[in-house]
């Protein structure tokens, strides 16, 4: 296991929900926890901060066991989903709050607040109250306040979920930039896979209170270790394996491939060994998505989604998928199709 960074083994049980999650984040990484709602993402963060009690397991940060350290001594800052800016304090007072707690002198405090405000691009906002800020500005202040506590670990709980799509994209780039500038180990919870894939060094996929997979974004996308991860991250097609694969061993399994791995042919493809060929699929709908077309097709009664560059001229098309791109899931095992 890792010796540096964050190492968690979390166990806690609640009414109708048990959490049992193990994962590690390396020093300086920006890791995203992603999963459907109710999978235990937010609970995980609350357990790490110590706001919720841990039933069993441990939390280790840079080699120190934090399990019995009180919340305010953990040096783990958290940005809450609804920002939680103190409404009776100005922007500057909010950011200065953790500095005051650490008995930092007033002159230094003012300087640090200025630095942090410029880090989050909010120069000149010192005097404002939280109800005079937009959602995106509140988010930045909350981030600056969290950074002011000089945390060893920064937790972000769905920080962008309350913002509109355009601002979300911009702010997630900002979060990445601020992370790179400060180098603080960061754990980021989201349910938006695009957000996770685009900014994370590491993706931790959670499902029903357990960690399903942890790894680099590409790894999780291209080599999912379970059908859940495969279908949860990105779009994909699943078909019963026996339809295409006559081997006895694969009868009960499911094959999986991504829409962009499908090649659409104008003519009937020849017998080409490294490929699986699908002929006479019916096009049920065709969406223009700007750079490409997204086709909903039906092949032998099964829906298959594929991307292609041109709008098909006929309602019946043929396509193929390279065997090396196809994953075969059987029970809890997964492997590539034999070529």
């Amino acid at each position: 296991m890792h010796t540096s960074g964050l190492v968690c083994a979390l166990g806690a049980s609640y009414e109708e929900f048990t959490l049992n999650a193990q994962f590690a984040v390396e020093e300086g990484e920006l890791a995203c926890i992603i999963g459907p709602s109710g999978c235990g993402k937010s609970t995980t963060l609350q357990l790490i901060t110590g706001l919720l009690p841990l039933k069993e397991g441990s939390i280790t940060l840079f080699g120190n066991d934090l399990t019995s350290v009180p919340v305010h001594h953990r040096q783990i800052a958290m940005v809450f989903q609804e920002y939680a800016l103190f409404p009776h304090m100005s922007v500057a007072e909010n950011i200065a709050y953790p500095l005051k707690l650490r008995h930092i002198k007033k002159s230094q405090r003012t300087r640090r607040v200025d630095e942090l405000l410029s880090l989050v691009s909010l120069e000149g906002y010192e005097k404002r109250k939280s109800d005079e800020l937009s959602g995106g500005e509140k988010q930045r202040v909350a981030l600056a306040r969290a950074l002011a506590s000089d945390p060893q670990l920064l937790l972000l709980d769905e920080p962008l979920s309350a913002l509109d799509a355009k601002l979300r994209k911009h702010l997630r780039e900002e979060i990445r930039r601020i992370h790179d500038e400060t180098g603080i180990t960061t754990l980021y919870v989201t349910h938006d896979q695009e957000e996770a894939l685009s900014i994370a060094d590491r993706i931790i996929v959670m499902h029903e209170g357990t960690v399903m997979q942890s790894g680099k974004a590409e790894e999780v996308y291209h080599a999912p270790n379970s059908l859940f991860v495969a279908t949860f991250i990105g779009e994909g097609n699943t078909l019963p394996a026996h339809l295409l694969h006559q081997d006895d061993e694969a009868r009960g399994g499911v094959i999986f491939f991504r829409p962009e791995q499908v090649t659409v042919h104008a003519t009937t493809p020849g017998e080409y060994l490294p490929h699986l060929a699908f002929s006479d699929a019916t096009v049920e709908s065709c969406e223009f998505q700007g750079g490409r077309y997204r086709l909903h097709t039906r092949w032998q009664g099964h829906p298959i989604v594929c991307y292609c560059d041109r709008r098909p001229r006929t309602t019946s098309i043929n396509f193929s998928v390279r065997k090396q791109d196809i994953l075969l899931f059987e029970g809890t095992n997964s492997k590539n199709l034999p070529r």
Binding site: T49, H72, M78
Partner: protein
Amino acid sequence: MRLREMEQSRFYQHLAVPALLVITLFFLVPLVITLSSAFIGPGGGFSLAPITRVFTDPYILRIMRFTLIQASLSTLTSLVVALGGAYLLSSYSFRFKRLILALSAVPFVIPSILVVLGFVIFFGNNGFLNTALMKLFSLPEPPVRILYSYKAIILAHTFYNFPIIMNLVATYAMHLDRRLEAASYTLGASKAKTFFAITLPRLLPAIISASSLVFLFCFSSFAIILVLGGGPRYTTMEVEIYRQARMVGNTGAAAALSLFSIAVTSLMLIAYNRSQRRLAKSEAYLQPLFLEKRPAGLVGRALAALYTIITLLFVLAPIISVIVRSVYSSSGFTLRWYRQLLNVERATSHMGSALTALVNSLLIALIVSFIAVSLGIGLAASIQRRRRGRGTLELLGMLSMTVSSVIIGLGYFLIASRLVGRASLSYTLVVLAHLVIALPFALRVLLPEYRKIPATYTNSARTLGSTPARAFFAVELPLLKSAMVSSAIFAFAISMGEFNATLTLASSTIVTLPIVMYRLIGSYNYQGACALGTILIAVSALVFIATTATKGKKHAY
């Protein structure tokens, strides 16, 4: 190590300790002492004799029956008067609507001794109403003779309580989603059908809730009955408890009656709480949709005018009468009673103790409001931020509401009679009794405001490095500032106007503003009483302004 879990909850548990100590020592212990005398026989040992004697005495049984009947009747008349007004206020907009709605909240803050005084001054034989009618129609005799009768009690209760029902039901109705009625109309239902099938069932919890509150007020009404009842003919439980303890000296009978009274008030409070909970669950609280609909037709306009007059007559007229009478008598304008109050002029009768009473009342109210808010805030924090046992703690905080203030006073009277006391000790007892009475009200103001503060504020402060205590003082307390101010004013006013417990527990040497007012009314010095009443009106007005001001203000969390 489960230390972390303990730490925060331990802090909040400690915050409740002072309030719980006060509740136990100064409410539960006196109550147990009071009620235990219901089980002590003439010989001194355990006996059910006081209870059986009370519950077989035809005189007492008649009082019980009368108490329940007058409370039911008063509630019913209040309901009848209130519902039309509530309908009018919630469905139409008319000239004096805002004024009526604001005035209907007045009885929440006005002390009962003031109601009595206003009633006598306005409806009395030489009151403003009779004087005006006699002048207008040149009558030789006052035409309205209702003082000291059954009618007077019901009328005073109605005057005191119908605005409460009207206010609660109308406010609730205004926040209901009117699109449901619109949907019903589009589905083909008539106006009447829609009202009975859609509107009324949704209003019912609010009506039940308001009615049970009013029943409770009427059941434990004390000052109104004491003054307007005119003797043993129209006596209720509360007055009888006071009479048995203070005049007859039969504390056993008083305790036995208290048992019955507590049983009824507890039942009513349970009903009230259940309907409140149903209300909270039943429908989303919408921003009021102001329908700019004028009352249609002659009937509608007449109804609007009628309710404007009724509200002004019942709520405002007696109060204004008190102020006017304090400076204006049949011989013209005079400041004599204020001069006597301030000891500028030699005082007559009970006016001699008026200044002392005013100073006492102000001091007692200041102390009570300060302690009540401090205890209330600790208790509210503890209730709100704990994981388990919230309901039990909240119930403990509200418990003294189940016991009428006469019974609370009785407990202190029993304690005081055992201690050979100096005046300062008696005043301490008055402060404690007021504190016990004011605490639930302070809590009721603070708790909803506390609930509005999201837990993430504290959590956020904690992850930024604050201890639970620092997070509480730096984040939560500043956010509760306005709630603390309004609960302090509330507690202050309750203490200033408190009459029932003070009269029951105090020896004759103890004077507060309401006590002196009562004595002045008893000796027919109405003008002096009105001068003191005007001061009490000023305090009530302050509370009224404070509560309506905070109601409009919304925090953006």
